[in-house]
Symmetry: C2
C-alpha cells in the first residue's frame, strides 16, 4: 500500500511539473505575441488553454481520489494539498496568458509606443524567471528558494507601476494612443497578476515544508494597481 502511494505521489509530482512547464511556455508565448503583434502565436496560446485546463482537472481528480482512497495524514496529505492548490494557481496563470493573447488578437492598427512595449517585454522576462524559479523550488521542495522567488515579485510590481504611469502620461499628451495604452495597462496588469500567482505557489511550497500557511508579500498582493 505504501509503495503504491509513493508511486502515485511521484506521478502526481511529475504531472504537476509538466503542467508548470506548459503554463510557463503559454505565458512566455502570449507576451511575445503581444509585443510582436503576432496574431498566429496568440491564437496558439488561446487554443492551447484547453490542455492546461485538462491538466488541472486531471490532477485535481487524482488528488481527491488519493485522499479518499488512501487517507493520507500530515506530510503526505500536505503534499497532495499543495499540488491541488498550486495547480489551481497554474491554471489561473494560463487564463491570464489567454487574456494577453486576446488583447493581441483585438489590436487593429492601434498607434504603438515602442518604449512601453519594451518595458512590458522586460517585465515579462522577470516573471518568466520567477515561474522557472518556482518550478525548480517545487521539484527540490526548497522553502528558502521559494521565499527568494516571492521576493522578486516586488520588482514586477514596480514595473507595473512604471508602465501604468507611462501610459497615463502618453494618453494625456496624445489621444491617438488611448486605445493602445489601455491595452498596455491591461496586459501589464495580467503579467503582474501572474507574478502574484507565482507568489501563491511559493507559499504552498513553504506550507509543504512547514505545515504553516504563510502570506508572502502581503503588501503587494491583491493590489494590482497603484496605491500611491
Amino acid at each position: 500500500m505504501r509503495r503504491v502511494f509513493e508511486e502515485e505521489l511521484n506521478d502526481l509530482h511529475n504531472h504537476f511539473f509538466q503542467m508548470g512547464k506548459i503554463v510557463n511556455e503559454a505565458v512566455y508565448k502570449s507576451v511575445k505575441a503581444f509585443v510582436n503583434h503576432d496574431k498566429g502565436l496568440a491564437q496558439e496560446v488561446i487554443d492551447g488553454d484547453i490542455i492546461i485546463n485538462k491538466h488541472e482537472v486531471d490532477l485535481e481528480k487524482r488528488c481527491f481520489e488519493m485522499i479518499a482512497l488512501q487517507q493520507p495524514v500530515t506530510t503526505d496529505l500536505r503534499k497532495i494539498v499543495t499540488i491541488m492548490k498550486a495547480s489551481a494557481d497554474l491554471e489561473r496563470m494560463g487564463d491570464h496568458a489567454v487574456s494577453i493573447a486576446k488583447s493581441t488578437i483585438r489590436v487593429k492598427g492601434n498607434k504603438r509606443d515602442y518604449a512601453i512595449e519594451a518595458q512590458i517585454a522586460e517585465m515579462s522576462e522577470k516573471v518568466k524567471v520567477m515561474v522557472q524559479g518556482v518550478l525548480d523550488a517545487y521539484v527540490v521542495s526548497d522553502a528558502d528558494k521559494a521565499k527568494d522567488v516571492a521576493l522578486s515579485d516586488v520588482a514586477v510590481d514596480n514595473d507595473f507601476k512604471k508602465i501604468y504611469k507611462a501610459c497615463i502620461k502618453q494618453m494625456k499628451s496624445d489621444p491617438d494612443i488611448i486605445l493602445g495604452a489601455t491595452d498596455y495597462m491591461l496586459v501589464a496588469g495580467y503579467i503582474e497578476r501572474i507574478g502574484d500567482y507565482v507568489t501563491n505557489i511559493c507559499e504552498w511550497i513553504i506550507y509543504l515544508n512547514t505545515g504553516k500557511v504563510t502570506e508572502l508579500n502581503t503588501h503587494n498582493k491583491n493590489d494590482h494597481f497603484l496605491n500611491s
Copy 2:
C-alpha cells in the same frame, strides 16, 4: 459515525453560507463606497477582508479533516469538494471588493463622470442579485436556478463592454478625465470578474447535483475585456 458526519456537513454548509453573506456585503459596500467617494466605507471593506480570508482557511481546514478522517465517497465527497472550491471563489470575490475599495482610497480629486458612475452602480446591482441568487441556489442545491444565475452574467459582461467604450470615448475628448476613467475601467473590470466567480460557483452547484464538471458561459469567461 454517520450522524456525526451529517452534523459536521451541516456545520460546513452553514459556515459557507455565512461566508457568502459576508462577501456579498463586502462587494456591495465596495461599489457603494466607490460611487459615493466614501473613503471610510472603503477602508471598512479593506479591514474586513481578513475575516473573509479566515473563513476560507477555516472552511478548507475542516474540509480536509473531514476527507482524511471520514473518507467520504461519491455524493458526500462531492458536497465537501463543492464547499472547498466555492469558498475559494468567494474569497477571490472578496479580494476584488478590496481592489475596488483601494481604487476609492486612491482617488484624489480626479475629474468625475456621473453618467459612467451611474452605469457602474447599475452593473453592480446586477452582480449583487447574482450573488444572492447563487447563495439561494446553493442552500436548496438547485442546479436549474444555478444555470439561470450564470446566464445573467451575460448582461454583466455587456455592461462592462459599454462602460469600457464610454471611458475610451470620454478619454479621447477630455484628457482631464483620463486618470478617473482608467479607474472606472478597472472597477468595472473587477465587478465583471466577480460575476465570473459567481458563475464558477454555479458550476460547482451543478457538479454537486450531477457529479459532472460543466463550463457555463465559456464564451464570456476569462475574457474580461472587449473582444470585438
